[in-house]
């Protein structure tokens, strides 16, 4: 235990870290918004009365939730070009994150919808509201509110999972850490600082979600 910490060795690489942090934040913002939309649509489809749609969505959910994220990512980046679809590393990484988050959120939001008392649907019907109106104005908001903590956690998990997209050369935070480490060999310092940045990012994300919960819901559960 005589390791001499040398954080000054990281100083020349601060721009790299900043660039990585920015890319991670960017990926997270896009994938969180798109993932929530996809998850909501998926959940709506899963309770649809069209059997083929329910089947399609459960197939999507099962495939994504039962395969490793890195395999999904490699499939999109290295596999799809064989079918003629060539995405840039950033696009492939972002798409993989959206698809992944979408599948998990489909299940999470569906649980919220199913936990909504039947009486709410019936009350809506007696008021003469359409099926879509009942879903979008009554059931979905309460469902989201019910499963909000799980939704937040899943979004944070995907943000942390974005570390994996460094594998296909997306220059996000983990990429920066690996890059710096391969140049100055200060692994301990590089990864310690990176871990701290991820921790701060996760805390910031949770705060943001809490803030928006206060805006969105009348009686926030958080």
């Amino acid at each position: 235990m005589s390791y001499q910490l040398d954080f000054s060795g990281l100083l020349p690489y601060l721009p790299e870290l900043a660039k990585g942090l920015l890319t991670t934040a960017e990926l997270t913002v896009y994938s969180t918004f798109a993932g929530i939309l996809l998850g909501t649509a998926g959940a709506a489809g899963r309770i649809s009365n069209k059997a083929w749609l329910r089947w399609l969505i459960s197939a999507y959910v099962e495939v994504i939730r039962n395969t490793p994220f890195i395999v999904q990512l490699f499939f999109i980046f290295f596999g799809l070009p064989a079918l003629g679809l060539k995405l840039s590393a950033w696009q492939a990484g972002c798409l993989a994150m959206v698809i992944n988050l979408g599948a998990y959120l489909t299940e999470i939001i569906r649980a919220g919808i199913e936990a909504t008392p039947k009486g709410q649907w019936e009350a809506g019907k007696t008021l003469g509201l359409s099926h879509w109106h009942i879903f979008s104005r009554i059931v979905l908001p309460t469902a989201i509110q019910r499963i909000y903590p799980a939704l937040v956690s899943q979004c944070i998990i995907v943000m942390l999972g974005s570390a994996v997209v460094s594998q296909i050369s997306v220059e996000e935070l983990t990429f920066s850490a690996n890059f710096i480490q391969s140049r100055n060999f200060l692994s301990f310092e590089s990864y310690l600082v990176t871990a701290l940045i991820y921790l701060l990012l996760a805390i910031a994300m949770r705060q943001l979600f809490e803030l928006s919960a206060r805006r969105l819901f009348k009686n926030p559960v958080l």
Partner: protein
């Protein structure tokens, strides 16, 4: 006392042996007289030298040894060596030449003599046929894949400015996958790696664009055997101009010899 006598005797024999080797005729005439060229070759380093399915040694180095023996009009005796013992084999005169993907460095130059380079061994930029790049400047605006932290990454990063996009991948395999799937059109790697891809996926054969770091192979010759060095150099020059080396390169490395060799 008996052991001491023995010691002195063996020392005396050693001295005789040493002086007799010094007074020997030069290695070239010795081997011509003997009619056999003994060459140390690798057997565990394809495509330079490995053991084929017929248990016979094969590879670029073995063909090079065959070529030299043919030109000298002597029989060839291949002596399989490892990378650690190839120089001792030469120094103890068990072999006449070392043709074993031997690179040159100052320590080795103190121990043995070297011929001209006969085989390429380098880090370079490789890419698809239709990409025209022949220098680091021409990489501007292009995207190139490399394995992060590898020597080729460091060399490449020194050569290009930020107009070139360097995609750094986790390991060699990921870099190769990126090239093979068409995610990058250019990669920086070692020529042996490029050879391996060319063999496995001939449709996306990477062609040599330019060299990043050159460490070609030389024929090792016993220190002070200038006549043999001259002879070998002459034959290497002849092989270069006659296209013999180019033929070997195409056969074993699946690509043309770099111009710089």
């Amino acid at each position: 006392m008996f052991t001491l006598k023995k010691l002195i005797a063996s020392a005396a024999i050693l001295v005789c042996a040493l002086t007799s080797t010094v007074s020997q005729a030069d290695q070239l005439s010795t081997l011509m007289e003997r009619g056999v060229l003994k060459v140390a070759v690798p057997q565990d380093f394809p495509p330079f030298g490995s053991v084929g399915s017929d248990l016979q040694p094969m590879g670029y180095d073995i063909d090079m040894a065959r070529y030299l023996a043919e030109q000298l009009d002597v029989k060839l005796e291949l002596v399989p060596v490892t990378s650690a013992n190839r120089i001792p084999y030469l120094q103890t005169r068990k072999v006449d030449l070392v043709i074993s993907s031997l690179g040159k460095n100052p320590e080795r130059e103190k121990a043995i003599d070297f011929s001209e380079a006969y085989a390429p061994f380098f880090l370079g930029v490789f890419g698809a046929e239709d990409v025209t790049v022949s220098s680091a400047q021409e990489l501007a605006g292009k995207t190139i894949g490399v394995t992060r932290g590898a020597v080729e990454d460091i060399e490449l990063s020194k050569l290009v400015d930020n107009t070139t996009t360097i995609k750094r991948f986790e390991d060699n395999n990921t870099t190769l996958s990126a090239y093979l799937s068409g995610q990058v059109e250019l990669i920086a790697t070692g020529n042996l790696v490029a050879t391996e891809i060319a063999k496995r996926v001939p449709t996306r054969k990477p062609e040599t664009k330019f060299l990043l770091k050159n460490s070609p192979c030389y024929v090792g010759v016993l220190k002070g055997e200038q006549a043999l060095v001259d002879k070998v150099n002459g034959l290497i020059a002849q092989a270069k101009s006659s296209g013999e080396l180019e033929r070997l390169s195409l056969a074993w490395f699946k690509t043309s010899l770099p111009k710089e060799l």
